[in-house]
C-alpha cells in the first residue's frame, strides 16, 4: 500500500509542487492550507508523514505540532518542516528535518524515503 503524506502549506504553488513530487515518487499526497484543516485531514487520513509550513494563516505551524503531539492517535507521525522563514530550524523541536524554501528536492525525497521505511 502506498504511504500517505500530508502537505500543510498555504502557498498553492508549493502545495502543487510537493503533491506532484510525492505522487511521482509513489506516495499518496493530501493537502491542507491551515492548522485546523491540517488537523482534520490528519485525523481522517492518518498520514505516515507530514510536511509543515511555519507561517500559516491564523495559527502557526508550531501550534499544529503541539496539537498533533497531544493526540494519542497522531503523536508519532513524523513531521518535516518546510518554510521560507529564517531561523525556523528549531521552531518544531521534534521535527525529523527542516528545509528552507527553495529546497533541494532530492534531499527532501531522500529524507522522506529514509523516514518512511
Amino acid at each position: 500500500m502506498k504511504k500517505k503524506i500530508l502537505v500543510i502549506d498555504d502557498d498553492l504553488n508549493i502545495r502543487d509542487y510537493l503533491v506532484s513530487l510525492f505522487n511521482d515518487n509513489g506516495y499518496d499526497a493530501y493537502v491542507a492550507g491551515d492548522v485546523k484543516e491540517g488537523f482534520n485531514v490528519a485525523k481522517k487520513n492518518k498520514p505516515d508523514l507530514i510536511t509543515l509550513d511555519i507561517e500559516l494563516p491564523g495559527e502557526w505551524g508550531p501550534r499544529f505540532y503541539r496539537q498533533l503531539s497531544q493526540d494519542p492517535e497522531l503523536k508519532n507521525i513524523p513531521v518535516i518542516v518546510i518554510s521560507g522563514l529564517s531561523g525556523h530550524q528549531y521552531a518544531v523541536v521534534n521535527a525529523v528535518a527542516s528545509f528552507t524554501k527553495p529546497f533541494d528536492r532530492d534531499e527532501l525525497l531522500k529524507i522522506v524515503k529514509e523516514t518512511l521505511i
Binding site: I54, S69, H88, A91
Partner: protein, 303 residues
C-alpha cells in the same frame, strides 16, 4: 481583546537582522492585545565624551547627529518595519544617542511601559558596536534594572509566536519569584492560559563533591513539590488548567527542557538583581542562561 497588562510596550531594537525575531514577537503581541508599541532605537554611541559625532549602530560610520539625521534614522526604521506598520497598529518611533542600556532604561523611566521587549544577544556583527562600548550586555543590564517585566526573544526559534496558551513559571522559592508568580498568574488568568509551575532541583552546585543517591534526590523532589503546592496551588486553582513539577539536574537546562516539553509559549522567571552583572552573558546566572537558550520568549521580573 480586553487585556490591559501589555497596554504600552517598549520595543528596543537595532532595526537590523539581529532584532528581526524579537520584532516578529513585538508586532504580534501589539496587534493581538491592541498595545501601544514604542519602537525605540539607540542609534549610536558618542565617539568621544559628549561629542555629537557618534558611531552609527547600523552603518558603523562616524556621523554628526543633528535633527535631519535623527529624522532620517526615524524614517529608515519606518521603512525597515514597513510590512508590520499599518493604520491598525498604534505605534510611535523614538531615536536616542548613547549607551544602549542606559538609554533604554531612561526611555522606560519616561514612558512607563508595561513591558520592555528586547532582542537577544545574537553575537552577530551589528551588535559589535554595543559590545565594544559597554561592559556586559545591554540585555543583562536592562533585565537587571528595569522597573517592569522584560521580555527577551533570543533564539530565532523562540519567535514563532502564535498567541498564548501555555505558560511556564520557573521558581526558586525566593521573594522575587513570588512577584514573578503574581505576574504569571495575572497573565494566565487574563488570557485563559494553562500555567505550569516548575522548580529545578540543582544537583550540581549544592552538593558539589557529594553524589546524592536517587532516594535522596527523590526525597528532595517530594519536598519541593510540597512547597510548590503550599505556596502556589491555592491560586493556581483559579485557572482553567495547571500543573506542578520538579525535575533534578542543571537548573537552566531543566527549565529549557521542561518548557519545550510543555510546548510553552512563554517562560516567566524572576531575575535576581542583587547579583552582579557578569561580563559575558554566556557565563551569567541561571536566568541569563535560560534567556539565551529558551525555545520561547522569556519574561524576567526583577522586583
Amino acid at each position: 481583546m480586553g487585556f490591559d497588562m501589555f497596554k504600552k510596550i517598549l520595543f528596543a531594537t537595532s532595526a537590523t537582522g539581529a532584532s528581526d525575531h524579537a520584532a516578529r514577537v513585538a508586532f504580534n503581541i501589539a496587534r493581538s492585545y491592541q498595545s501601544h508599541l514604542n519602537i525605540f532605537h539607540v542609534m549610536g554611541i558618542p565617539s568621544r565624551g559628549y561629542s555629537q559625532v557618534v558611531v552609527d549602530v547600523k552603518t558603523k560610520e562616524h556621523v554628526d547627529v543633528d535633527e535631519d539625521y535623527l529624522a532620517w534614522v526615524t524614517e529608515d526604521i519606518k521603512t525597515y518595519y514597513e510590512k508590520y506598520l499599518d493604520e491598525s497598529l498604534d505605534y510611535s518611533i523614538d531615536v536616542a544617542v548613547g549607551l544602549p542600556a542606559r538609554e533604554i532604561l531612561r526611555q522606560a523611566k519616561n514612558l512607563k511601559p508595561d513591558l520592555i521587549l528586547l532582542g537577544g544577544s545574537t553575537g552577530d556583527e551589528d551588535e559589535s558596536v554595543y559590545k565594544k562600548s559597554s561592559v556586559g550586555s545591554t540585555l543583562q543590564k536592562v533585565a537587571k534594572s528595569a522597573n517592569c517585566p522584560v521580555l527577551v526573544v533570543n533564539r530565532p526559534a523562540a519567535s514563532f509566536w502564535g498567541g498564548l496558551s501555555n505558560i511556564v513559571f520557573g521558581t526558586d522559592f525566593s521573594k522575587t519569584s513570588d512577584k514573578a508568580f503574581d505576574f504569571a498568574i495575572k497573565v494566565a488568568k487574563a488570557l485563559d492560559c494553562e500555567l505550569s509551575v516548575f522548580h529545578a532541583l540543582d544537583i550540581t552546585a549544592l552538593h558539589a563533591g557529594k553524589m546524592l543517591s536517587q532516594d535522596e534526590i527523590e526525597q528532595q523532589i517530594r519536598e519541593s513539590l510540597r512547597k510548590i503546592r503550599a505556596r502556589y496551588e491555592p491560586r493556581l486553582k483559579e485557572l482553567k488548567g495547571y500543573s506542578m513539577d520538579v525535575w533534578e539536574g542543571i537548573p537552566f537546562i531543566e527549565i529549557v527542557k521542561y518548557a519545550r516539553d510543555k510546548h510553552a509559549d512563554l517562560l516567566i522567571m524572576a531575575h535576581h538583581s542583587r547579583r552582579a552583572v557578569s561580563e559575558d552573558i554566556r557565563l551569567g546566572g541561571n536566568v541569563e542562561q535560560v534567556i539565551v537558550r529558551a525555545g520561547c520568549p522569556v519574561i524576567s521580573i526583577n522586583k
